[in-house]
């Protein structure tokens, strides 16, 4: 099992004829993902290395039966692209676009909630999602992800940061630990999918035995996750929070990563997670080692 996406997921790429869409779309297909189509208005009828291109998401869904979309378009176009996919009935939308204005994200989130409550958006500004060996949507390098072992103890990963997501996958691979699904929720102020959404899915996924979570400074998503873990998550967890030394008032790259008004500090987040029973590492490697100990104790 895996969460959100698996070997049956059929994906279209919005922006397949653009630089990013083509590069990552083809990589995703090479990984084994069922990339069944692309969407670029005005380029319907063309193909990208054998992947048919359609004028609209509705056309693409009608022709291919796609149930997921990979949005790889510039920030100006991303909000409309997401809502177009939702309107066409796509259930799972991954948006990797970096630089979407927060006001647009808030409107898109509210619109999805009101008009398309069954659609899940991952991102924007996220690395995507990979269920190793089954499906990879986004920019994760598939080769650093260890597929789950059948009947073994496997880990689910959820992370707010791109490179630290890879780091987490890599740490587990070094330890020979399989991953059911790795979800990068992205570092923006209004992510479509939260830690809590992913934790709930992992808790219910029989193949996932433990959960590794990577957070960072800013906002209160980790504190909300801690509350949820305390009440609902029985599977063992390890975590890492980036940004202990980040100065207040400075955005550390991600639009959401800022300590302001004394809120959103790494220490506060680590304390909240520890209080919820999560083993918190001082760096990504330590979080990986803590997870290895957890897996050992479960076997």
């Amino acid at each position: 099992m895996a969460i959100f996406v698996n070997e049956h997921t059929k994906v279209i790429v919005q922006g397949l004829t653009g630089g990013q869409g083509k590069f990552h779309g083809l990589r995703n297909r090479a990984y084994g993902t069922k990339v069944v189509g692309g969407v670029t208005p005005g380029k319907g009828g063309q193909d990208v290395e054998g992947i048919p291109v359609f004028n609209s998401v509705a056309d693409a869904v009608a022709a291919t039966g796609a149930d997921a979309s990979f949005v790889a378009v510039p920030p100006k176009a991303a909000p409309a692209a997401i809502l177009e996919a939702a309107a066409a009935g796509v259930r799972f939308i991954v948006c990797i676009t970096e630089g979407v204005p927060a006001q647009d994200e808030a409107r898109v989130y509210a619109t999805l909630k009101r008009d398309y409550p069954n659609t899940r958006l991952l991102g924007p500004n996220c690395p995507g999602i990979i269920s190793p060996g089954k499906c990879n949507i986004g920019i994760t390098a598939g080769e650093i992800a260890q597929p789950p072992t059948k009947g073994g103890k496997n880990v689910g990963i959820v992370s707010r940061s791109g490179t630290l997501t890879y780091q987490a996958l890599f740490e587990l691979k070094q330890q020979g630990i399989g991953v059911t699904t790795c979800v990068g929720i992205g570092g923006d102020p209004v992510p479509g999918t939260s830690f809590v959404d992913c934790l709930a899915e992992f808790q219910n996924d029989p193949e996932t035995s433990a959960i590794l979570m990577i957070g960072e400074i800013g906002g209160s998503a980790e504190e909300e996750a801690a509350e949820f873990i305390k009440a609902n998550v029985t599977k063992p967890m390890s975590a890492y929070i980036a940004g202990v030394t980040a100065p207040a008032g400075k955005k550390m790259g991600h639009a959401g990563a800022i300590v302001s008004g004394g809120k959103g500090t790494a220490q506060g987040k680590m304390d909240a997670l520890r209080a919820a029973g999560v083993k918190v590492g001082a760096n990504p490697t330590e979080a990986g080692e803590l997870m290895a100990q957890i897996i050992k104790s479960l076997s």
């Binding site: 990589r27 920030p75 100006k76 630089g99 979407v100 204005p101 927060a102 006001q103 647009d104 808030a106 409107r107 989130y109 509210a110 619109t111 009101r114 920019i139 994760t140 390098a141 080769e143 650093i144 992370s159 707010r160 940061s161 791109g162 490179t163 630290l164 997501t165 890879y166 780091q167 890599f170 570092g187 102020p189 209004v190 990577i214 960072e216 400074i217 906002g219 209160s220 998503a221 909300e224 890492y240 980036a242 940004g243 202990v244 030394t245 980040a246 100065p247 400075k250 550390m252 790259g253 991600h254 639009a255 959401g256 990563a257 008004g261 790494a266 001082a282 760096n283 990504p284 490697t285």
Partner: protein, 385 residues
């Protein structure tokens, strides 16, 4: 991007929010000219992005030309909590009957807009909230519903704003909300929002933070960006298009990805060092990017060692290594590099670095983040590698 008060007031005015007549001055003569134009009494206000201006003597009332000269002369060039005053805002002084507080932000937990309104303005709102949480009305606004005049009026009533000021406050709230949404603000705050003895409601201060991601639809922001107070290192980095934040340690940091860069700062700190900067070179790590990054780090004279922390995902380790070797040929570095290279094709990358013919004390390769951090910190602290 945080705006200065005068920029915030100009931004407010463009959304129809009433602010005091005023203008910005860089010199004493300009200050006097503005005061003569708008009429006395005026307030001379230091334009710095730090609290406590008034206590530091950065806000003064002037009743005539001589007083403007004295105050402007004292304030321009003044140092307020390490912020040098380069300009002052001269505005017509207002008579104040009452002071309120109003702000709009995005509540990330609720994923909705948040209005905060209080009849107790003019002071630190955090203090008001701590002493008496009921003194602040917090109202969530659905971004696709927006804020109507009637909802704004109800908020004013709930905040115990006096009847005579409620309509004026409601009208400003709707305009401030428009500024927050259409103006792409992370924060739009008025403290104090004043009631004049004549009955008008008016923004006496402006705190505006803009969402940099929305710059593409706000060409008018270019004027604001030009006045951002960056240190020389940050200016150079901005010119080169790098995500750089200057810090005050001695270990220069280059990493790919914001999360990994933050994590690198943390690990350096854990092993007893201090980072000189935050620098995220993003997904790619070609020779051009690496050269630009090393030039910026090299410009910082406090840097004693350079820690390059790269995780190869789609960017392959061998490409990164070639980029570093090429960049080291182009830039004459004053500090040695400690590199940790992991991920896709890392072995190949490390081989390229080892065979590049670079002196062993100029380029040190470590296989984990922690080992590399220890080595970089040891060098920065003047100890053996």
């Amino acid at each position: 991007m945080d705006l200065f008060e005068y920029q915030g007031k100009q931004y407010f005015a463009s959304f129809g929010i009433p602010v005091s007549a005023g203008d910005v001055a860089h010199t004493v003569d300009e200050s006097i000219a503005i005061a003569e134009r708008i009429g006395y009494p005026v307030v001379v206000k230091a334009q710095v992005q730090v609290g406590g201006r008034g206590k530091a003597g950065g806000i003064k009332l002037a009743n005539n030309k001589d007083e403007v000269r004295t105050h402007a002369n004292n304030i321009i060039g003044m140092d307020i909590k390490d912020h040098k005053v380069k300009r002052v805002w001269i505005e017509r002084a207002s008579d104040i009957a009452e002071e309120y507080y109003a702000s709009f932000t995005l509540d990330r937990a609720a994923k909705q807009h948040l209005l905060m309104l209080s009849a107790q303005g003019g002071v630190d709102i955090e203090e008001v909230a701590a002493k008496d949480p009921t003194a602040i009305v917090k109202l969530h606004i659905n971004p696709i519903v927006g804020l109507s005049e009637s909802v704004a009026k109800k908020a004013a009533v709930d905040a115990r704003i006096p009847t005579k000021a409620q309509d004026g406050v409601a009208s400003i709230l709707v305009k401030l909300y428009g500024c927050f949404v259409k103006g792409d603000c992370d924060l739009a705050e008025i403290n104090p929002l004043i009631l004049k003895p004549t009955g008008e409601v008016h923004a006496l201060d402006a705190k505006v933070s803009l969402d940099g991601n929305a710059a593409f639809r706000h060409p008018e922001w270019e004027a604001f960006a030009a006045t951002q107070e960056l240190d020389d290192r940050e200016k150079l980095a901005r010119d080169k298009g790098l995500q750089y934040i200057g810090l005050d340690g001695s270990v220069g940091i280059i990493a790919n990805g914001a999360g990994l860069a933050m994590s690198t700062l943390d690990v350096v700190n854990q092993v007893g060092g201090k980072a000189a900067n935050f620098l995220d070179i993003g997904g790619g790590a070609n020779a051009e990017l690496m050269t630009a990054a090393l030039e910026v780090i090299n410009f910082d004279t406090k840097v004693r060692s350079i820690f390059i922390n790269i995780f190869g995902g789609i960017t392959r380790g061998d490409e990164v290594a070639k980029g570093i070797v090429e960049a080291m040929r182009r830039v004459s570095l004053r500090a040695p590099i400690v590199i940790r290279l992991d991920g896709t094709n890392a072995d190949e990358g490390r081989r390229i670095l080892a065979e590049a013919g670079i002196a062993a004390d100029k380029l040190i390769t470590k296989s984990t983040m922690l080992e590399a951090a220890r080595s970089a910190v040891a060098i920065a602290n003047g100890k053996a590698v």
